[in-house]
């Protein structure tokens, strides 16, 4: 099966600090991989590295067939990152943000509205400035902006954090649908019970090194055995 993420001894520096100290990881198309680990283990850096945002000091990082050591920006348009930050302009309204980001990533004008509906953001909130939204609402809007991009690789950093139970269910549904359509998902989460329900494989990472990647989470999960 096609490898979407292929890391070999990947070292990523944050400042002069090796946040990732030699990671080996393979993720195949259609997998939903749960990444867990302590605070500061390098999970977020791993996601950002796969998005081409973090310089790679050594090793090999191939994402969606692109060698990121040679060209970090090659994959950026094809991945969707839901990070700790909102990626939204505070001074613009919800719908203005969605329009801007979907058009900036090559989408159409109506993508934004459809995505907001999917995330359960009520139409009355569309014209409201992002500044006056709650954290949970911002999270939904950020997620909507992400799915507007129609990414081939989803990189989700704590997607359930700050959401109510309906929002969490929506996230799970979106991830499942994405996987069915052939997208690949990397989820960082501390809520293992919740995340293991959607993941096909559970990988733990500690102090910048992948520890274990064998557990297959769903009994019916189609995830291939780990060969990293």
């Amino acid at each position: 099966m096609q490898k979407i993420v292929e890391l070999r001894s990947a070292v990523a520096l944050v400042g002069r600090f090796p946040a990732l100290a030699g990671v080996d990881l393979d993720v195949h198309a259609g997998e939903v991989v749960l990444l867990s680990g302590h605070n500061g283990a390098g999970k977020s850096t791993l996601l950002r590295m796969c998005a081409g945002l973090v310089p790679i000091a050594s090793g090999s990082v191939i994402v969606l067939g692109e060698d990121l050591r040679r060209n970090r920006s090659a994959v950026r348009r094809r991945v969707g990152l839901l990070g700790h930050q909102t990626f939204l302009y505070e001074d613009l309204s919800v719908i203005e943000n969605l329009d801007f980001w979907s058009r900036a990533t090559g989408g159409e004008k109506d993508d934004g509205r459809a995505a907001l509906d999917r995330l359960g953001v009520a139409p009355r909130l569309h014209e409201v400035g992002v500044r006056s939204l709650s954290a949970g609402q911002r999270r939904r809007v950020s997620f909507a902006a992400m799915i507007c991009r129609r990414p081939e690789l989803w990189l989700l950093d704590e997607p359930h954090a700050g959401l109510d139970s309906a929002g969490r269910d929506t996230v799970d549904d979106l991830v499942n649908e994405a996987a069915e359509r052939g997208a690949t998902v990397l989820v960082v989460s501390h809520e293992l019970d919740r995340a293991e329900r959607i993941a096909t494989r559970h990988v733990t990472i500690d102090a910048g090194v992948v520890q274990a990647g064998v557990a297959t989470c769903q009994p019916d999960g189609a995830g291939p055995t780990d060969d990293s």
């Binding site: 081409g52 945002l53 920006s73 348009r77 990152l81 990070g83 909102t86 990626f87 939204l88 613009l92």
Partner: protein
């Protein structure tokens, strides 16, 4: 490319339309500076009239620094830089979009200031084509250099102090050229003024190229 430039510029102008920082803060500041010059220099003995071009452009320069800080402050908040990098828009397009938005805002500011100068400093306007050419080249020059350093400074903790230190010496030849050129134009002797306009045009053109080239490492690594 054109589409992306317009998208970025349109977004900036929309944010200005929403927040009105420029209209509510930068513009009043510029008017206040013009007023303060009148207090500092004796308006009755013609000092103010003689110095009008210089005072005008110094005011524009100071107001530009504020506008720059605002315009790049919005890109530094909440992961926007990462989002722009992820969008895949060419850095040169982002740069030119920011420059375009700044040009529009600075041009609007200058128009209001021209009206204010005409009223408060009692200026007679001669050589209007030359004045327009000088103002256009100056505005592009300020926007072109300002967008490089504005983006560079936006993510620094000491951005409010480092930006003027970087940008004002860089704009020294612009201030000289714009002031002398405007003086010549106001005196109605357009001839030599056009070489000042040409120098301003050279400055603007050079920095548009430099900015478009440097914005990639700037966005990526700085």
């Amino acid at each position: 490319m054109i589409r992306d430039i317009l998208l970025i510029a349109g977004k900036d102008l929309r944010i200005e339309g929403r927040s009105r920082i420029g209209v509510a803060q930068v513009l009043p500041f510029a008017l206040l500076v013009l007023l303060l010059f009148a207090f500092a220099l004796d308006p009755d003995r013609g000092v103010l009239q003689a110095a009008t071009p210089g005072l005008f452009w110094v005011t524009v320069l100071f107001a530009s620094v504020l506008a720059l800080q605002r315009n790049f402050g919005i890109e530094a908040e909440d992961g926007i830089i990462d989002a722009l990098r992820l969008s895949g828009i060419a850095p040169a397009s982002i740069y030119l979009g920011k420059v375009l938005a700044l040009i529009v805002q600075l041009a609007a500011l200058e128009l209001v200031l021209v009206a204010a100068v005409a009223v408060f400093y009692n200026t007679d306007f001669h050589g209007v084509p030359l004045l327009v050419a000088i103002a256009a080249a100056t505005t592009v020059g300020i926007a072109a250099t300002g967008s490089i350093y504005g983006a560079l400074a936006a993510r620094l903790r000491s951005r409010d102090t480092i930006l003027p230190l970087l940008i004002l010496p860089l704009l020294a030849p612009v201030l000289i050229s714009a002031t002398r050129g405007s003086e010549v134009a106001l005196r109605g002797e357009a001839g030599t003024g056009w070489s000042w306009a040409a120098l301003l045009g050279l400055f603007a053109g050079a920095y548009l190229v430099v900015g478009a080239v440097l914005f990639s490492p700037l966005l990526e690594d700085a």
